[in-house]
């Protein structure tokens, strides 16, 4: 995605199109836009440079004449030469490095959302994050004052993370019935990193990862990049159907189960107490470890969910993952993994080789949130706000979507999982929604079989935006259905 930071220079007499040619040459000769880069369409360029399309056409013609760019029309325009230095073909062939690198790129839909979320004109029904309105500015000021009073060194931390924070997490987890010492806790930079560390540290090429179908984990490429197999297990109203797992287990192949027991992403389902017990029994019998991703636990609206699987686990079966991203702020990038000590030691060692630990400043800050009790206080406030937001969203869905879709009212979390009644081209819907300024996650990124679903987040957009966004979206769906 080429970024344009050009401004016209009004102090020189050079025509605008030549100024743009010079800007292209500078970007290309510095290697910022290497040979092989795609140039946006004329329309896009006109918008980005804030000039008439005819000016862009003149500039591109000039660059093509000089043999720097090539192509037009459907195939797109590309940088083919770096002729200013008369050293064409000298750059490394970055494109082949990019294409052959081990890690699989994000799904295109996700890449696009990741970029467009920073265009403020969009209504974000996509974002799994609390609205800026809900950010506890004043409490954060109090905490940062505490932090700056306690900061007299900010070095590398122990491999498992700052002891002060781990001790507070250990205390905090007791309220869910999880009793572990600080030495069984590893601080990580959010739940995604927890998954990455487990895949690099405990799994191998060919390992099987069981997961809910649909699941957030289908939207990440880390497992596939490392050559692991994903095996989806259906989910019903009580959660993942654990009894189906044994028949998929292959002998001589290590496996692990990843699941989100509370307010599952994307379906919002809460696993029943009965199902939790059953799942622990099944996994014990199969000697299969579980990654319990519990980052949504605190976001209950109606009543607290049952205790974690980890609290039922007497055999070190469960790696329990939590974070403050959904409750306080994803920008802190602080989460944790709880598990048997040798496993935590192993993951800590890999974390050290990966990024040398999470930010001490962020660790200290989260520790203070916990210690002062402001964390619990803020969550209480957040729950009340989510109650209101959920109500508004359900009311809007009833008003605009009742003829075209169904949904279950989530008892917590951030998302409503909407099922369209009639088939529709979801790629098309996503695309058209972008064009009218609405971002949402289509079901197919969570599982290709759920391509008639939308994940609608009620946590981020303002009330006004929720109203406007859902109204526009419902109109768009009706329009596409008609085709």
């Amino acid at each position: 995605m080429i970024h344009i930071d050009w401004r016209p220079n009004k102090n020189i007499s050079k025509p605008l199109y030549i100024q743009i040619v010079d800007y292209f040459k500078e970007k290309i000769s510095s290697g910022d836009w290497p040979v092989g880069s795609s140039i946006p369409t004329q329309r896009d360029l006109a918008r980005k440079f804030e000039v008439n399309r005819s000016t862009i056409v003149a500039a591109l013609d000039e660059l093509k004449a000089e043999g720097i760019l090539e192509g037009r029309g459907k195939g797109g325009t590309k940088v083919i030469n770096n002729s200013m230095t008369l050293l064409s073909n000298i750059q490394p062939n970055w494109q082949s490095y990019i294409e052959e690198g081990i890690h699989i790129p994000n799904l295109k839909t996700i890449k696009r959302i990741n970029e467009l979320e920073f265009d403020t004109s969009f209504i974000r029904l996509s974002t799994g994050e609390a609205s800026p309105d809900l950010f506890p500015t004043e409490k954060m000021e109090i905490v940062l004052k505490e932090v700056s009073r306690n900061i007299n060194n900010l070095g590398y931390e122990e491999p498992k993370g700052m002891l002060y924070l781990r001790e507070h997490i250990s205390k905090f987890l007791k309220k869910y019935g999880i009793h572990v010492s600080a030495s069984s806790i590893l601080i990580v930079s959010g739940a995604v990193q927890a998954i990455q560390l487990v895949s690099m540290g405990l799994l191998q090429t060919g390992s099987t990862v069981f997961l809910e179908k649909p699941s957030y984990l289908y939207s990440l490429q880390i497992l596939q990049s490392m050559g692991m197999r994903r095996c989806g297990i259906p989910i019903d109203e009580e959660g993942i159907q654990g009894n189906l797992i044994p028949k998929y287990i292959k002998k001589n192949r290590s496996s692990i189960l990843y699941m989100i027991p509370n307010f599952q992403n994307p379906t919002g389902i809460v696993m029943s107490q009965r199902r939790r017990k059953e799942l622990i029994e099944i996994c014990q019998k199969e000697k299969m470890p579980i990654i319990e991703d519990d980052v949504y636990r605190e976001l209950w609206i109606d009543k607290p969910p049952p205790d974690p699987l980890k609290s039922l686990d007497k055999n070190g079966l469960v790696l329990y993952v939590g974070s403050v991203s959904k409750t306080l702020s994803p920008g802190l990038r602080i989460g944790w993994i709880v598990g048997p000590e040798p496993v935590i030691d192993r993951l800590a060692d890999i974390k050290m080789q990966t990024d040398y630990g999470s930010s001490s400043l962020a660790q200290l800050t989260v520790g203070k949130w916990l210690e002062t009790g402001l964390y619990e206080e803020h969550i209480g406030y957040l729950r009340k706000q989510l109650y209101i937001r959920r109500q508004v969203t359900i009311d809007l869905l009833e008003k605009y979507f009742s003829d075209i879709a169904t949904w279950k009212i989530p008892s917590g979390g951030y998302y409503v999982w909407v099922t369209l009644k009639d088939p529709i081209m979801m790629y098309k819907l996503f695309d058209e929604a972008c064009k009218i300024g609405i971002l949402l996650y289509p079901g197919y990124i969570y599982d290709s079989n759920h391509n008639q679903n939308l994940r609608i987040s009620y946590s981020y957009a303002s009330m006004e935006e929720l109203k406007e966004g859902l109204y526009r979206l419902s109109k768009l769906i009706r329009k596409l259905k008609g085709r």
Copy 2:
């Protein structure tokens, strides 16, 4: 590494050894110490529990009698059963998960240092980090006040990181002759993560990574874990001998060069201007990209080093890596990669899949350090302090080491690379140094051929500790030599 947080309960009449047995059972039954875990030696346990060795012997005998532990003597004692739950062999076989996981564990020496550095009784001649004495507490308070005034949301950031920080880095880099826009910069959690992202994003199994011999990069396992080949190129007083690279390049195999041009880790060498130009030419001819790890640049003591290779690079050949870890604080975990936009886009995408970006709090904080000019001010102070520390260290080396070792006076950075005159068993030296409370990095972790070297850091220990540590170390070397 089993962690003991046991305290005797004086309010109950149970003998101490039974209390210790109960503690073991709790740890084992909860899965914290799973079947297969090694138990420390009796002496270690006595120290950790702060009881007599006879109490430990009694407790271990009891646990063995119950069939929970097994073994003694050289082979060590292990957890073999989890009999309290009468569900033995129910846990997953964590040991095989750990052993078969993709990522190679850290070298034992490094693991040991990573752990022992948090034992305050040690003199740390190992640590590549500025001393707590040098931490700018007051300036950090000012900056955090600024931060808390500007914090009204702390969400996920753009894939490349916070624009505000990238813009300030873009401005800062101009002083080295690096002219890039914010869109060519990716924020990372330190230089180690930069290496990890490059290896996952641009390299493949079988790729060759050229590096200095010796090099810090030899101490990391990330490349080997991903199946990449490392190829060491000798380094002389002017830096890496780039002219030797072409003969090692294999056709049809992608390759990249990793190097530290300034105050190289571990040798302290600064690459000459002449060598820089030559290297750029060679790599251009070979179309081989360069990772320029320049985290030590600002730590010059005598005079600023030549401009970065990146400033000579007109063809997008160089990925330039910097960070605030060595200059300000490693605990912020903020660094950056500068490179061609499509490459930065690729690495940003993988970073999103790895940890969803670096801490926004830390990014905002580093941005404020740059914006206020306090960063430059602090570096000026740091340089003066490093001048003093280097002087003290060189004086001490002359006093205690002149008969047993040689060294070059570094013109900046944190390290003196000491070469012992007579061969010595370096594993033994490391081990014995640990026993007398001294931590240092032996040369073999940077290259197996440099096993008669020590990396002595003068940045971390206090003046008193430097004196005491170097004195004790010189005595130890003489003692081991005599054997």
